[in-house]
């Protein structure tokens, strides 16, 4: 026992979270710095970060706090939200998340900390779950093929619009949108159409189509009012005009309704939220996009397909990946490169949990109660103009409207305020018979109504011609796991197939796979946060509004900007919103003709795609040999296009992981020629605290990937959250709040929900609160230390492609494997797959330079894990040496055959020139703790040429089991 009496401050452990979030201990840091030949962390930062951009002042934030304190404050924030029963509908419906799914998926790091399944061999579990999602959506919509989710219903509809433009045979320029679509969908479509010159006509689908120069039509099924229309005629008419037809559909209603696929529509979009995903004040939720087989190559979003591995066994992988390559192109019609994987998994599990009978029971109950409600209201003398419906009614309340809303308010119920004389009511699976009686009472003296009598008499209100005949969800996967034990084990079995952050570091460059701390995650499943409808009145969401205001302030402090919009629900969406702000700013100054966007050749592929969507013309700026922006070329192009220059999009630190010295000069040049500077926030993790943030470097707007820098987990490929931060002059041009906007705004909404994926913002808020001023700065410093430590350890074995003039990297480093490819034929893919045998997820492959690996360790990985990774990479280099020296056959060695599975290990025919032990236990640590890939190397070409994007028949499962 030490004699030193420690201060009470020390004993209170207020900064304790920082040391838990950051991997290396103080002793580790000292050792790592010594290896780098540096005396201190300060010396490291002095050497790495150019003096011109160093921040002289600490972040304008309070210091960090203990986890229990932050949790207690979050509880008080959640309590300031008032969870009313929201019957507003408009595409958002309360639901019961089955608790077995809540705990074992939504609250389980094995699911939420995994990355997008670009490495399919370590992602079979979530790929199967997403394939279930696709199968479920395809069956319910009656379409041939469905993707593995989009961001929300409104953006899915906007994607459908550009899909029709690209896919259809019509030369028209008009997209017709039924006035019975959800208002937020119409608004997002209008925002999206304007910059690309598409005319949107909103009208009555029964009479307004004729004479339009159409390329596409959007209808809602059932309509936003609740009415179920038979669209047969309008579809025939649209097709006669060569237009494609999109239907936005409600997934639960499709359990009872005739699927849109059967009446010939081309695309079905919608939200799967009510399949077990909490409201979360607007998101995140998984939208879907389903279409015809013939259009598969034009479908936006990720698509899971079935293929075979090297032994010929069934294996899942992302299909038609070359579609993502489109995003590099200036002709892109979409910048979608993320999904809502975690939410799609939950929705698919909801389908597996309930199965066809369970879903039918839920749907019939909701429908029965709605019919009962309607009949009661009519008996009370109200005009219910909705004749046929599933779960949503429109009620003419006339002069009583205000009284009805007030009565609802007293019962803590939200109804939809359609207009001054009409209310809307949308029921959901949580509604009970008592709730229906309560609803009647809002409208008048319901004492005379007998629930039993009315319910008894209430018939089916789905038009006969539009009733589903035959069961939904016929695949056996939806009828196999109905006991909780079976369900529990199914989800566990899938999770066990995958490699997520709960097993090993995921050193993906440009992805910032840092700790998603438990304390940050816990509040997101509290009712106070996840039970709020996105269009609930503001006073019910006071906690959210406070939290978001505080988060915006924190983000502004970290980035050096003045204002923040939290609406964009992915990084790419943020890029798009940021460019719209720039364009609207130019327009407001009478310079709307500015339409050239300069983009360095090293930029992320989504940059040009976003610019295209914002109506900008992309001009590429060259990079020099060291990977930096070629400043003379930038100056020349800025000057050449000075009259048209709208913006520069630049990533900082560069996509090559280097702090470019010239960034301030680059921003000045663009401003000098009248352009605005968009700094892509993908690499923000290297900037916070050690610089003033992108706003202080000269940026006018940036998007921030909260799922990278601010700890929102990747969820196996979404949710992403991409707020944009702007300087004050761009603040008026942030995305409008749409349905919740008090007045019209220069820029419309870019996402369905006014505050985007609000439900997961508590994660980022908690991170900022826990780390505080010093913790956030130390995180940046440690991320830079970890990256340089790895670069230093691996440089003798693999060339590090780009460094700053001081020989240092920023927060990530690129290893050049092209010389190895040249000398041995071993590719980055081979190294990536061999890392699986060592128990690691591969670094980022071939981005931003083909034939390289980009490694970003983040601050959260300990020295021990960094060493384990470095040793694996060094050991792999030795295996490559053995190929170079002729000891290994270039066609038969542990790399080209990787990953090795238990099937390989137990194969009686072992003919390789290396041992079974070397194959599966290449490092001593793997003997104590081994990750076994469930499948071998997957054949992508086979999968794409034999495309199957729904669950294979049951016999396939038996074969593998």
């Amino acid at each position: 026992m030490s004699q030193l009496r420690r201060s009470l401050d020390e004993l209170e452990q207020r900064a304790d979270f920082t040391r838990r979030h950051i991997g290396p201990s103080e002793t580790d840091k000292a050792d790592m710095l010594e290896l780098l030949g540096l005396a201190s962390m300060d010396a490291l930062i002095d050497k790495v970060v150019p003096a011109a951009i160093r921040s002289q002042t600490p972040l304008a934030l309070p210091n960090g706090r203990a986890e229990h304190e932050v949790l207690a404050e979050m509880r008080t924030i959640a309590d300031r939200n008032q969870v009313y029963k929201s019957l507003i509908g408009m595409g958002y419906h309360d639901c019961h998340t089955p608790t077995v799914i809540l705990r074992n998926v939504l609250e389980n790091p094995a699911w939420y900390t995994s990355y997008t399944p670009y490495q399919p061999e370590i992602s079979q579990g979530r790929l199967e779950a997403m394939l279930n999602f696709q199968t479920m959506v395809a069956e319910l919509t009656g379409m041939e093929i469905a993707n593995a989710s989009l961001l929300d219903e409104a953006t899915a509809a906007a994607e459908a619009m550009t899909f029709c433009l690209k896919t259809g045979k019509s030369r028209g320029n008009t997209f017709f949108v039924s006035q019975d679509c959800h208002p937020q969908t119409i608004q997002v479509i209008q925002t999206r159409a304007q910059p690309i010159g598409v005319t949107v006509v909103v009208g009555d689908h029964r009479q307004d189509l004729a004479g339009l120069d159409l390329f596409g039509v959007l209808l809602q099924y059932p309509a936003s009012t609740g009415e179920i229309y038979d669209y047969t005629e309008v579809i025939a008419q649209a097709h006669a005009q060569k237009a494609l037809v999109v239907v936005a559909a409600d997934l639960l209603s499709l359990v009872m309704l005739k699927p849109p696929g059967t009446f010939g529509v081309d695309v079905v979009v919608g939200s799967s939220q009510r399949f077990g995903v909490p409201l979360g004040y607007g998101g995140p939720h998984a939208a879907f996009f389903a279409t015809k087989e013939a259009y598969k190559r034009n479908m936006p979003g990720r698509l899971v397909g079935v293929s075979i591995d090297k032994r010929g066994d069934k294996a899942y992988r992302l299909a038609l990946q070359t579609r993502e390559q489109h995003i590099r192109r200036e002709k892109a019609t979409s910048n979608i490169c993320t999904a809502q994987a975690l939410l799609a998994v939950i929705a698919s599990m909801y389908g597996v949990y309930h199965g066809p009978q369970g879903l039918a029971t839920i749907a019939q109950r909701v429908h029965r109660l709605t019919a009962t409600l309607a009949d009661g209201l009519r008996q009370l003398g109200y005009d219910v103009p909705t004749q046929t419906f599933f779960d949503t009614l429109t009620v003419k309340t006339g002069a009583h409207t205000q009284t009805v809303h007030e009565a609802a308010n007293r019962q803590r119920i939200n109804l939809r305020a359609v207009d001054a004389e009409t209310v809307g009511i949308a029921l959901d699976e949580t509604i009970t018979r008592q709730d229906v009686e309560t609803l009647w009472a809002l409208f008048g003296n319901a004492g005379s109504l007998s629930f039993a009598d009315i319910e008894n008499a209430a018939g089916d209100r789905i038009p006969t011609a539009l009733r589903r005949d035959g069961p939904c969800l016929t695949h056996p996967i939806f009828d196999s796991y109905h006991s909780e034990t079976e369900m529990l084990r199914y989800m566990r079995a899938l999770a066990d197939k995958d490699l997520a952050l709960d097993r090993a570091m995921i050193p993906l460059g440009s992805c910032t796979m840092k700790l998603n701390a438990t304390t940050e995650m816990i509040p997101i499943t509290w009712a106070g946060f996840n039970g709020i409808h996105p269009f609930a009145p503001l006073y019910q969401a006071q906690g959210y509004q406070d939290l978001m205001k505080s988060l915006c302030k924190g983000l502004a402090a970290c980035t050096g900007y003045d204002d923040v919009s939290l609406q964009p629900n992915s990084g790419a969406q943020g890029e798009y919103a940021g460019l719209l702000a720039i364009c609207a700013y130019h327009q407001s100054r009478g310079e709307g003709h500015r339409n050239v966007c300069l983009i360095p050749s090293s930029a992320h592929g989504t940059n040009p795609a976003s610019a295209q969507m914002a109506g900008l013309k992309v001009v590429v700026v060259h990079c020099n040999e060291s990977g930096d922006v070629d400043v003379p070329d930038l100056r020349a192009k800025a000057e050449q296009y000075s009259d048209q220059l709208a913006a520069l999009m630049v990533t900082y630190p560069s996509t090559h992981g280097v702090f470019e010295e010239a960034i301030v000069e680059i921003c000045n040049i663009v401003h000098q020629y009248g352009g605005q500077v968009y700094i892509d926030g993908a690499n923000l993790n290297a900037l916070i605290g050690v610089t003033g943030g992108p706003g202080k470097l000269g940026g006018d707007v940036s998007h921030l990937n909260l799922h990278k820098t601010f700890c929102i987990p990747h969820g196996g490929g979404g949710p992403g959250v991409g707020p944009i931060a702007v300087k004050a002059h761009l603040a008026p041009f942030l995305p409008g709040l749409g349905v919740m906007a008090a007045e019209s705004t220069p820029v419309g909404p870019v996402a369905a929900a006014p505050w985007g994926s609000a439900g997961i913002l508590p994660i980022s808020w908690a991170y900022v609160a826990l780390m505080g001023r010093d913790g956030l700065t130390e995180a940046t410093r440690s991320a830079i230390l970890n990256a340089n430590y790895i670069a230093h350890r691996l440089a003798p074995h693999y060339p590090v492609l780009y460094t700053g003039p001081n020989g240092m990297v920023a927060h990530e480093c690129i290893l050049d494997l092209r010389p190895i490819k040249e000398s041995t034929g071993i590719s980055v893919d081979d190294v990536a797959k061999r890392l699986i045998d060592y128990g690691f997820h591969a670094p980022t492959m071939s981005f931003p330079v083909a034939g390289t690996l980009m490694i970003e360790p983040t601050e959260s990985e300990s020295k021990r894990e960094l060493d384990r990774f470095c040793e694996a990479m060094i050991s792999i280099r030795e295996e490559i040496h053995a190929i170079e020296s002729g000891a290994f056959d270039p066609q038969d060695n542990p790399l080209v055959n990787a990953p090795h599975t238990t099937a390989d290990l137990t194969d009686p025919e072992w003919s390789h020139p290396y041992s079974r032990e070397q194959a599966v236990f290449p490092a001593s640590t793997t003997k104590a703790h081994k990750y076994w890939p469930p499948v071998g190397r997957i054949d992508n070409v086979y999968g794409d040429r034999n495309l199957i994007c729904s669950c294979p028949p049951l016999s396939e499962y038996e074969k593998v089991a």
Binding site: R297, Q321, T322, E324, G605, S827, M845, S846, N940, D944
Partner: protein
Amino acid sequence: MSTSLVLTLIGDDRPGLVDAVSTAIVEQGGNWLESRMARLAGKFTGILRADVPDANAEALIAALRKLDSEGLRIVVEKSAASGAPSGYRVLSLNLVGQDHPGIVHDVSHALASSGINIEELSTECTSASWSGETLFHASARLHVPQELSVDELREVLEELANELMVDITLDDAVTPAV
């Protein structure tokens, strides 16, 4: 008057191959015009057009053939220079997809069946960003008969793209290839 010579060359890659060819051309008063050369799987190979005064044409051909002894095999032909054929429109085709055997064969077969001439073709394999898969890229300049409508051609290519699971785009070739 000068003669136009078209050459193809191939040899084991080593420093000095281009120098050897260019020296022969310069020594005969020739002029190096268009060329494409690349190292492919350890071999250096290329195509080249050079103009040379009529009087020196045979001497140059002989000089080039002599390079055979230095390990560079060269085929030389005199060109009967002709301008672009008439009655054709020029389109550019771009293709990207997962690499697999037979893409060039299937595409060229489909184009030939429609009477389309491939004027230029270049292809490469790269490692796809993020997924690391091998991608096959091709870009071609096509001479398309006037009587074949672009819509018809698009339909042919769309069908092919679905069959091969590749993406094919077709654009007007704005600038002539140099």
